[in-house]
């Protein structure tokens, strides 16, 4: 166990709807998400002490959000980053609160991910008109090798060759996450079921990836609040305890991206020992996960990297509905980036928090009081057994963050 295991909690969560397009500023959306998270926790603006966010120069900063909401901060910082940032900033929050720099921390991500900076690579209206090539990282653009679908597709293709992974294994992820989205009224694909046949009929984006291997792009903001355990007991929601984590941990092999001997080894392959060691639990203790699904394959390679299946066997592991609600290891219960909407990971943490509170915002009339039917036909999304969750975050091929949380 880590020295600070269970000493800090996630006490509040909030978000805006997923929009396409929002017709709003990232500042406006961030204010709504932070306001909702404060209301969820019961914390007053005068009690908020720290704020942080992650972005790619595509968003507002913490100071502006705090000013807008009348919050006077003791600590504010905004970092560059995407899909591995929420868990990283939770680590920052714990360290900073422990050291006395602030008393709690709001973490938010606000992005016009469809109408503004699109991480799929296109401009809002279509292909980028001119390709500018200057630096090392631009060289790939000159070769038309520019979008994450191509970068991850390349790793996936090699993994298929080395270990016999098939499209149907990828489809297991798409179908599972879509089923969860069909139980989540907030999700973009709430009304759109997806069968394995539907998945296989999807048009090609970049082989081996079809349309439903790739995540949505949405405009959205979401926020969580981290506070010491002592605060959490006096707030509105059942506390969710942070057991341990790993933050932007890099691959064992320092070589650049595809120069690594094992191209499918990601930060997770190294971070797993830190994650489970600090948390003091084993894989068998994990009831459900979020596994960053920018693509179906990123979920699979994270699950394998964090040790949920032996090397090369993640395809067999997910066969037969493993990742579906009531399956052996339910994954991305809100529908994830594939089917709920795209938030650079923070919405997955929010879903896990709600599941652990047993207050998932599904179609059960009594969900706010924790009353669930567990009847999937009637739209219940709450897991019966939701004690411990693993949040597995992506980022680049070289880095990964994760944390384990419990009720």
């Amino acid at each position: 166990m880590g020295a600070l295991t269970d000493k800090y909690c996630i006490v509040g969560v909030g978000e805006t709807p997923h929009m396409r397009p929002s017709n709003r500023t990232t500042l406006s959306m961030a204010c709504e998400a932070v306001r909702n998270a404060m209301a969820d926790s019961g914390l007053d603006p005068s009690e908020i002490s720290g704020m942080t966010s992650y972005q790619y120069g595509d968003s507002c900063d913490s100071a502006a959000v705090a000013s807008s909401l009348g919050i006077r901060l003791d600590y504010a910082v905004d970092i560059i980053g995407g899909g591995n940032s929420t868990e990283t900033l939770v680590a920052h929050a714990i360290g900073l609160i422990e050291a006395g720099y602030c008393r709690n921390m709001v973490i938010f991500r606000s992005m016009n991910g469809r109408s503004g900076l699109r991480f799929g690579g296109q401009d809002p209206d279509g292909p980028v008109p001119v390709t500018n090539v200057s630096s090392i990282s631009d060289m790939w653009d000159a070769w038309g090798f520019t979008t994450p679908a191509q970068h991850h597709g390349l790793t996936c293709m090699r993994y298929m060759r080395d270990y016999g992974l098939t499209s149907r294994h990828l489809g297991e992820v798409a179908v599972a996450h879509r089923r969860h989205a069909n139980l989540n009224p907030k999700s973009i694909f709430y009304d759109r079921p997806l069968s394995m046949d539907d998945y296989l009929k999807g048009r090609w984006v970049s082989k081996p990836f079809r349309l439903f291997d790739c995540c949505l792009e949405t405009d959205v903001a979401a926020a969580i609040i981290v506070a010491p355990r002592e605060w959490a007991y006096n707030l509105k929601q059942p506390p969710v305890f942070i057991m341990g984590g790993t933050a932007r941990t890099q691959t064992p092999d320092a070589s650049y991206r595809w120069n690594r001997e094992k191209i499918h080894y990601v930060g997770a392959n190294y971070g797993r020992h830190r994650l489970f060691g600090m948390s003091g639990v084993t894989h068998d203790d994990i009831d459900f996960v979020s596994a960053y699904d920018a693509f179906t394959f990123t979920s699979l390679i994270l699950l394998e990297g964090y040790g949920f299946a032996p090397e090369g066997e993640i395809g067999d592991f997910v066969e037969g509905g493993t990742l579906q609600i009531d399956g052996k290891l339910p994954s991305n219960l809100s529908g994830g980036h594939l089917s709920e909407g795209y938030t650079h990971g923070i919405a997955m943490v929010i879903e896990n928090v709600r599941q652990l509170r047993h207050r998932t915002d599904d179609s059960c009339p009594g969900w706010r009081e924790g009353k669930h039917t567990y009847d999937r036909e009637k739209g219940c999304r709450q897991l019966k057994k939701a004690e411990i969750a693993a949040c597995l975050a992506w980022g680049t091929e070289t880095e990964s963050s994760a944390m384990i949380i419990r009720r």
């Binding site: 292909p127 038309g144 298929m160 970049s206 120069n259």
Partner: protein
């Protein structure tokens, strides 16, 4: 064959880390970085040696023959210059003449001149310099030159040996 790339829409203005690399393409030369102190070869051309941290760096001219390590068939174009080229193949290519004594390998990414039919993991490729009136610099592309014994290709729901 894939359609042509619209080089008029690619604006290459190399920075100091990449200038010499791009200049060499005008002379049909394909370079990787080589450390003047420990001889390590690497790509892309970072400003320091990942083996020994030396910043005294030269270049090694590869013969430009390699094997396909992995590939994609890009169907949905993201960048306008590549809109007329789809579907095109991007590949990561092993460069055997740039393998280091410590076993570390050097790979490069490129666009093939072939269509999907000729492409398989393991197949040998060689560099071709595609000249265009629209581009000051020359794009290195890659041409498949044969079928490897252990070649593997994606066939729609998975993959297998070529012809197997």
């Amino acid at each position: 064959m894939p359609g042509s790339i619209d080089y008029s829409l690619i604006n290459v203005k190399p920075d100091p880390d990449t200038k010499e690399w791009w200049d060499a393409t005008k002379e049909d030369r394909l370079l990787v970085r080589q450390c003047n102190d420990c001889s390590k070869k690497f790509f892309p051309p970072f400003p320091a040696c990942p083996g020994c941290t030396s910043m005294s760096l030269g270049w090694y001219e590869t013969e430009g023959k390699g094997m396909i390590y992995s590939y994609n068939v890009v169907v949905q174009p993201i960048l306008a210059p590549f809109v007329p080229a789809v579907p095109y193949i991007t590949a990561v290519i092993d460069l055997p003449d740039c393998t280091n004594e410590d076993g570390s390998i050097t790979r490069i990414v490129g666009v093939l001149t072939d269509d999907e039919e000729a492409v398989a993991i393991g197949n040998p490729v060689e560099v071709v310099f595609e000249k265009s009136e629209d581009s000051e610099y020359v794009m290195p592309r890659w041409r498949v030159t044969g079928v490897a014994e252990n070649a593997w290709k994606f066939t729609g729901e998975g993959g297998g040996p070529v012809g197997g």
